[in-house]
């Protein structure tokens, strides 16, 4: 069937590249010299330099997890990657100071007007370094710290050091080790006790150099009774050769605190997106990951929550869209380590063409615990017969006084449904978009308004390319 250009969408969004003169460039390849270069440029304290080197050794000694994960990982040539690039600009304090080309990038990303208002409070990463960082006065007054990870570790070592690398140990997996060795960029956030941050804190970042892996590192600490919402979104330009993105995000919610971490990612089809995200929830604390993955060659991401205090809550809401030739390997990890803890996982995946979605869920409830509950729901939507979906739920519940509920479904958009919509005058592509948006609708509603609009747009964009 023919595709009609009804969707009125600019396919070229996210497909652009501005020339940037990089002042610092660690060159291609990874060795101790690379680490020293990064540590020198960033003026890392000694403990960080040592941390990086220890991580490099772990990275080098750990095998690729291809005994369970995709063999496509073997196609990453670590010695061909550039591990650090920077324009050398210090984080900016005002919008006027932001370089024109960076502003143009934001412009091109089509950040809605509404969100531009937020830019006054945004920590935006342009390649390795935060090119722009400004905390809203209101947020600052409340004692909130919202800075780049480099600034965080330099200026707030007493808080930073206490939690850094504690939720996700360096050797958790090969890619967390890699990130720990070469990290730059990402955010450090601290919310003082009782402070409820009204505005979501946002970060925009993107990759902008060929063969340049991005390794940001984010640490968020919500002190007792505080609340914060963090949003990250990115659109990567398309490059010929594969790029590697490997982030580590650690969240700490102290007693009664609430953290929501929202991600909408749209990677170009050559990116390996291998991310480790985990939160530690203390007594009565709540950590919620809302995660949307679109694009990339291979995404591996299993946000997790360790509920170590009584009545802690963990939640993962995720949407994954695997287009032609893409593999979304996503899921969630819930570790119940105290009584009366509850977790909820809702995962929806969409596979198009030769796209492939895999769900991996891990739920652990210890033998000695009681009153723990988990609910897992994972639904897959297949757009055509080539698509493939697998679920690997691993639920380990010990002890009798705990409850787990698991539901899974696989559905298809039928030709009859598309025909029905087309009979109403809706083009095949738009009909497909409608159906896919319908499938994820209940989850999309959990995203903040501007993100749900963006998400719908991204889904439209993917679906437009899927018919014909």
């Amino acid at each position: 069937m023919e595709t009609k250009p009804d969707l009125n969408i600019d396919r070229s969004i996210g497909d652009f590249h501005y020339d940037v003169n990089y002042e610092f460039d660690a060159g291609i390849g990874l060795s101790e010299r690379t680490i020293d270069y990064i540590a020198d440029v960033k003026k890392d304290p000694d403990w960080i330099r040592d941390f990086r080197k220890d991580a490099l050794r772990k990275f080098e000694s750990m095998p690729m997890p291809t005994h369970w994960a995709s063999h496509d990982l073997d196609n990453i040539i670590f010695q061909n990657i550039r591990y650090y690039l920077s324009q050398g600009t210090q984080p900016k304090r005002s919008w006027d100071d932001v370089p024109e080309d960076v502003k143009r990038t934001f412009e091109r990303l089509g950040i809605p007007e509404q969100e531009r208002k937020f830019l006054a409070g945004v920590e935006a990463q342009f390649d390795s370094e935060a090119a722009y960082s400004n905390i809203k006065a209101a947020v600052g007054d409340q004692g909130v710290i919202f800075v780049g990870s480099t600034e965080g570790l330099q200026k707030h070592p007493e808080i930073f050091r206490k939690w850094f690398g504690k939720v996700i140990p360096t050797g958790d997996n090969k890619f967390s080790a890699l990130n720990s060795a070469v990290f730059s960029g990402g955010s450090f956030i601290y919310i003082p006790p009782g402070v409820k941050v009204k505005h979501p804190l946002q970060a925009y970042f993107r990759i902008n150099a060929e063969n340049f892996g991005q390794f940001e590192r984010t640490l968020i600490i919500a002190d007792e009774g505080s609340e914060v919402m963090y949003m990250e979104g990115c659109t990567a330009p398309k490059f010929e050769t594969s790029t590697l993105h490997s982030a580590v995000v650690e969240l700490v919610a102290l007693k009664g605190a609430k953290i929501q971490y929202i991600t909408v990612q749209n990677w170009s089809a050559n990116v390996f997106n291998l991310v480790t995200k985990r939160g530690l929830a203390h007594e009565e604390a709540e950590i919620k990951w809302i995660d949307c993955n679109i694009g990339s060659r291979l995404t591996m991401k299993y946000p997790g929550v360790i509920m170590k205090g009584r009545k802690a809550r963990g939640e993962v809401i995720s949407i994954a869209l695997a287009g032609d030739g893409q593999h979304q390997d996503t899921g969630a990890k819930m570790v119940h380590a105290a009584d009366d803890t509850t977790s909820n996982i809702v995962s929806k995946s969409i596979s198009l063409g030769s796209g492939r979605s895999t769900y991996r869920g891990l739920v652990q409830i210890g033998r000695h615990l009681k009153g723990c509950k988990n609910n897992t729901e994972c639904d897959a939507l297949l757009i055509n017969t080539e698509s493939r979906t697998d679920t690997y739920p691993a639920i380990t519940v010990r002890g009798k006084e705990n409850a787990c509920q698991h539901e899974a479904s696989v559905s298809k958009i039928s030709a009859e449904q598309i025909f029905y919509m087309q009979q109403r005058g809706i083009s095949e592509g738009a009909a497909m978009s409608l159906a896919v948006n319908g499938f994820v609708n209940d989850l999309v509603q959990q995203f903040p308004m501007e993100y749900s609009v963006e998400l719908k747009r991204l889904i439209d964009l993917e679906m437009e390319g899927s018919v014909g």
């Binding site: 023919e2 009859e416 449904q417 029905y420 087309q422 109403r424 005058g425 159906a435 499938f439 209940d442």
Partner: protein
């Protein structure tokens, strides 16, 4: 100006279902097709709409002179003014009625023109009132968990919103109780216009008491074998279809 079907033959797989069907519905008229289960009535509706399972092997359909089969995609035909209220409307999980109809209305606007949301909802609510559909209906997913009657009302709501030139209503009366039948018929009658032609498919004459047709056709085995006025429907109701088939056999 008419919807004109000439010598239409259509297959599903190897099997021929429509076997040389002729029918012309002038603009401004309502025609009814009656026929036994399996005679090919729904097939006719789906073939016209461009359902991918059917293959047209011969014949021509024109929509005010426009060649329908030159429009390959069902959505082109729909935008050209053809509407089918289906016998078995599909469920579209997660897509609300309001968003669905909105997408359909939007699809009819010139490129670059954005639908005025306020005007859209005003019109939608007006049409819903006419069909006695409660407001909260708009936030339900299309046909999902609907009763038979709700599905049919939803079809007519879409028809009312999309302003088609030629409408085919396939067994819109099935699954409706007498009150619902009256409401739906009022909705259809409100759309009677010199600018619109309608084809009402049914096998009960009951519907035709409410939507009074200009012409009644009888379909047997993929063909129109007999046409007449409203009294033909009454005769079919009283005597069944067997005599028609006998008559056809005799003629042959």
């Amino acid at each position: 100006m008419s919807l004109n079907i000439q010598n239409l033959h259509a297959n599903i797989g190897e099997r021929e279902i429509l076997k040389g069907l002729n029918l012309e519905i002038p603009k401004g008229q309502i025609h009814a097709i009656m026929g036994k289960n399996g005679s090919g009535k729904s097939t006719l509706a789906k073939v016209m709409a461009g359902h991918p399972d059917y293959e047209v092997t011969a014949g021509e359909v024109t929509l005010d002179g426009l060649n329908l089969f030159e429009m390959a995609e069902p959505d082109e035909r729909a935008r050209a003014g053809l509407f089918v209220a289906f016998q078995y409307p599909m469920e579209i999980p997660g897509v609300t009625i309001a968003n669905f109809i909105r997408a359909a209305v939007q699809a009819r606007l010139p490129k670059g023109e954005e639908l005025d949301a306020v005007e859209y909802y005003e019109l939608l609510y007006k049409k819903m009132e006419l069909l006695k559909i409660p407001r909260n209906f708009t936030s339900r997913a299309v046909n999902e968990g609907f009763s038979g009657g709700e599905k049919k009302r939803c079809e007519i709501l879409q028809m009312a919103m999309l302003n088609p030139v030629y409408c085919i209503l396939d067994e819109t009366d099935s699954g409706l109780d007498i009150d619902a039948l009256k409401i739906v018929s009022e909705g259809v009658n409100a759309m009677r216009s010199p600018e619109r032609g309608m084809l009402v498919i049914t096998h009960y004459q009951r519907l035709l008491d409410y939507i009074v047709p200009d012409v009644v056709h009888v379909m047997v085995d993929g063909r129109i074998v007999l046409s007449g006025d409203k009294s033909l429907a009454l005769k079919l109701e009283a005597n069944g279809y067997d005599w028609v088939e006998k008559e056809v056999l005799q003629q042959a």
